[in-house]
């Protein structure tokens, strides 16, 4: 999101992102084979898990085939969704990722969206009432929340609402062996989603709130707000059409920038609640030294982050006319 790519216009921007994607792919192709010595031995040294000999052989052959086919072959495999087989789960990596991805998207997407929306509107309203009791309370509360890591709040929520009160399930994404359909299934999923979502929401909310509030305070004091008031706009129009419209920018930037760090944060929460998403999968893959799965997940997520950043780049130019040269 640097200014250089912006000035190149649309084709230049896409080319830059394509180049970055290629670099990522090449790294994932090249990196595992940079390990010194026999990478399988290195991989499993000191680990509790180990591979049976026939699997070792199979994996060696798989890696060998990859090298002989070269980077172009690797690319071909990647785009035809042939991402290799997981050693530990004995399934195609693609299948594993595509099973976990929807859950992660559900959890991350809803937490991110919800915290951004709630944070933004709460920030706007709080800034509008700057100095009032709700504003002061909000700021103090958010500052405290900002200091609690999701592992802390997650454990706390789990203890209180699941283990002690028993209101919510402690693990999983839906009730196992149930044949819920339609509404029942939807409610069941929500029921399981509540605690991990709540944990992530509490983790993301303060940043969004404080950022929106700060941006809003800046916008409220801008000279054009006096014009907006002078023109006879109602307070609601002044607040949202004129001030919040300009305070939106940093929040959207944060939305994009945050995406990259989301996965790592979700990892903790998914692991904590045994939520069957990419985070848990990655966790397991690392514990089991499942290299094809690890590189598959890392590659897919980084490419996803890259493409979302590209989309945001366009959204950003749409929002802030000053960026359109």
């Amino acid at each position: 999101m640097d200014t250089g790519s912006r000035s190149q216009g649309l084709p230049g921007l896409c080319a830059a992102y394509l180049l970055a994607a290629l670099a990522l792919l090449y790294l994932s192709y090249r990196l595992p084979r940079l390990l010194p010595g026999d990478f399988l031995t290195a991989l499993y040294s000191g680990a509790e898990a180990s591979l049976p000999p026939e699997l070792k052989e199979a994996y060696r052959n798989q890696a060998e085939a990859l090298i002989t086919r070269g980077f172009v072959g690797y690319l071909n495999d990647f785009f035809t969704l042939d991402w290799g087989r997981s050693l530990a789960f004995r399934k195609p990596v693609r299948e594993l990722i595509f099973t976990a991805l929807p859950w992660t998207l559900l959890l991350l997407g809803s937490a991110h969206l919800l915290s951004t929306l709630v944070g933004f509107f709460a920030g706007v309203e709080s800034a509008w009432r700057k100095g009032s009791l709700p504003d002061r309370l909000g700021v103090s509360l958010m500052t405290i929340l900002e200091g609690i890591p999701e592992i802390g709040s997650g454990v706390l929520l789990l203890l209180v609402f699941s283990l002690s009160l028993g209101w919510f399930p402690a693990a999983g994404a839906e009730t196992v062996y149930s044949d819920f359909t339609g509404w029942q299934r939807f409610l069941d999923v929500l029921h399981h989603l509540a605690l991990p979502l709540g944990t992530l929401f509490l983790a993301y909310l303060p940043g969004n709130f404080l950022l929106s509030r700060a941006g809003m305070l800046y916008a409220i004091n801008a000279p054009y707000m006096l014009t907006a008031k002078a023109k006879g706009n109602s307070p609601l129009r002044q607040r949202y059409l004129h001030a919040a419209r300009n305070a939106l920018l940093p929040v959207v930037t944060r939305f994009g920038v945050r995406l990259a760090s989301l996965l790592t944060r979700a990892l903790t929460v998914e692991a904590l609640y045994s939520y069957p998403g990419l985070g848990s999968l990655l966790c397991n893959a690392i514990a089991l030294r499942d290299l094809p799965l690890i590189s598959g997940i890392v590659l897919v997520t980084s490419l996803a982050v890259l493409s979302i950043t590209l989309i945001l780049e366009f959204a950003y130019q749409k929002l802030d006319p000053r960026l359109r040269a």
């Binding site: 801008a222 002078a230 023109k231 006879g232 109602s234 419209r245 300009n246 006319p321």
Partner: protein, 596 residues
């Protein structure tokens, strides 16, 4: 139909105290007229504009009534105010581009009031906004641009279009030309004219005096109080308040030959301890006139007595002394030496705080007139008033006291000092004569202060030097110190720099002007050099054969001389300059060093 501001008082609450921004303010903005509000920055001009729109920040407290066509403004009721805003009173804010929302196109912002107030549909509102912008010479391809993509002049057009889109009855223009080139300025002036023709009321807030002079009425605001209200056309020519005069002296008018003089001191901040109390007396903690510290004619009473607006109708003024008062008035004075009439019956008034230059050739009677004005020469006929008092009617002691109020500086410094006295004795002489201080530390302090004012060293060795040890410039400074030592309010300087070389002359003139501004002196300056007169004078009197043949503001004398003799003098001076210039710029003849 008018907006009437009655006894408006506005203060801003700050931590622990409040800042009084406006008080005792009465002003009427009539429809079909342009009312200009002028004053330095921070004097409360914009606060007044915002008060009318109900746009003061939350920490502001306002009292008094504002009537819009007879109905009081519902200042506390936001909903009711929102109906009035922009539809009846619209405002163009200062600082151009930052007053437009960066996130919306020009067209959208111009049409917004139509949608909010008139409930027009998107299409119709857009059409009308485009028509308005086009009438202001803003090309259609610019309408869909964002504020940051337009130039300052285009922004100003958009702001004006936005203000007029609902055809309001009153228009407030806050510094509409501050950042504009002359072309865009002409547009603002045209627009003001058109608005006035259409029977709208315009409040023009500006520090541009030329622009304000085009208004029907000008109100001069100083630190929250109106000091003077006068017809716009008279602003530049006949100001009566010392502050208005001082503003004029600081304004770089296009016709003014003189150097900018500025104004002494800084405006005082009107801080009130604690919170604003309702129904506080006018003046806000400061008794007396707000301008007195910077005023050249302030008297003791100015600090004591409350000053209110006096006069009615077109001209009103807030000054205890009724406006700028004369320092010296000469009525029908004449003088003959033997049978030669050096000065015919002459009237002359020197106003407080002004620089009046007497110009004329040798023998025109200017020195005689100056000596009569200074009281060192008795006229054969006529009378002389010093600060409004006929000096000859007073007893001797008062007369002597009044004499100390005038300092003299003479043409030839080396002749004007006794070379038997040292520096200290020369400067201290007036003190001794006037018995103003006893010999000792008091006297020495006065001498040192005067020397410092005149830009001279004041070490012990210097005080014991004799005039022949100093150069001509330093001796003239010594004479100036001597003139200043009794702290007079009037200085009469007779050709004080004509015997000095241009470098020293420039320094001495600059110093004299600075002293004049900083000490609020009245300066009667006699010179035969038109160039010097033009650089320093507020007014110029031209003497010829013992009569004042022309007297007026320096710019009039220079640009529109009325008397043929003045015109001739100017012509000679200019021809002289042109001739000397020609000598240097003439084509060099081909020769050894200039091969063809």
């Amino acid at each position: 139909m008018s907006i009437e501001l009655h006894n408006i008082r506005v203060s801003y609450e700050q931590s622990g105290h409040s800042l009084l921004a406006l008080d005792d303010l009465h002003l009427t903005l009539e429809q079909g007229r342009v009312t200009a509000l002028i004053g330095e920055s921070g004097c409360g001009k914009t606060t007044l504009g915002k008060s009318i729109m109900g746009l003061l920040p939350a920490r502001a407290r306002i009292s008094g009534t504002i009537r819009l066509n007879g109905t009081p403004l519902p200042l506390g009721d936001e909903t009711a105010m929102n109906r009035l805003r922009w539809s009846r009173v619209a405002m163009v804010f200062q600082n151009g581009v930052s007053t437009l929302n960066p996130a919306y196109t020009i067209a959208r912002q111009v049409m917004e009031p139509l949608r909010v107030h008139s409930g027009l549909g998107e299409h119709e509102a857009r059409r009308r906004a485009a028509a308005m912008l086009k009438s202001l010479d803003l090309a259609p391809e610019l309408h869909e641009r964002y504020p940051h993509q337009l130039s300052g002049g285009q922004i100003q057009r958009a702001l004006l279009g936005m203000a007029m889109i609902l055809d309001p009855e009153y228009l407030i223009l806050d510094e509409p030309t501050a950042a504009l080139d002359p072309g865009a300025r002409a547009l603002v002036m045209d627009l003001m004219r058109a608005t006035r023709r259409n029977g709208k009321g315009v409040l023009l807030i500006s520090h541009d005096l030329d622009l304000a002079a085009g208004a029907d009425t000008a109100a001069v605001l100083y630190q929250g109080q109106i000091m003077e209200i006068l017809p716009g056309p008279e602003l530049l020519r006949l100001p009566r308040h010392p502050y208005t005069k001082a503003l004029l002296r600081s304004f770089p008018g296009i016709d003014t030959p003189r150097n900018l003089m500025g104004m002494r001191g800084e405006p005082l901040l009107r801080l009130l301890p604690g919170k604003e109390v309702p129904n506080a007396p006018a003046g806000g903690g400061h008794t007396g006139c707000l301008f007195r510290e910077r005023c050249p004619q302030a008297v003791e009473a100015c600090a004591r007595e409350a000053v209110s607006m006096q006069g009615n109708g077109e001209r009103r003024i807030r000054c205890l002394r009724g406006g700028i008062v004369p320092a010296i008035v000469l009525e029908g004075v004449s003088k003959s030496y033997d049978r030669i009439k050096a000065l015919h019956e002459t009237d002359l008034t020197v106003y407080n705080g002004e620089v009046l230059c007497l110009i004329g050739e040798t023998g025109s009677g200017k020195s005689t007139l100056a000596m009569i004005a200074g009281g060192s020469l008795l006229p054969d006929t006529g009378r002389r008033l010093l600060h409004g008092q006929d000096v000859h009617m007073l007893d001797r002691k008062t007369q002597n006291g009044l004499r100390a109020d005038i300092g003299f500086i003479y043409q030839n410094p080396l002749e004007a000092v006794s070379h038997r006295l040292n520096v200290f004795q020369i400067v201290a002489e007036p003190i001794r004569i006037q018995r103003a201080a006893l010999p000792g530390p008091g006297m020495e302090a006065l001498v040192v202060a005067a020397l410092r004012d005149a830009g001279l060293p004041c070490e012990h060795e210097f005080l014991h030097k004799y005039p022949h040890e100093l150069n001509a410039g330093a001796v003239q400074r010594l004479c100036i110190a001597r003139a200043l030592v009794l702290r007079p309010s009037i200085i009469i300087a007779d050709e004080p720099t004509s015997s000095l070389d241009p470098g020293v002359q420039a320094k001495i003139l600059k110093m004299l002007l600075e002293l004049q501004t900083e000490k609020g002196l009245t300066l009667l300056f006699i010179t035969h050099d038109l160039g010097v007169a033009g650089k320093i004078a507020d007014r110029i009197a031209v003497l010829h054969k013992g009569r004042i043949i022309e007297l007026g503001p320096a710019e009039d004398i220079f640009n529109r001389p009325a008397h043929p003799y003045t015109a001739r003098l100017l012509q000679l001076a200019r021809a002289g300059t042109a001739r000397s210039r020609e000598m240097h710029t003439r084509e060099p003849k081909p020769g050894l060093n200039n091969p063809v």
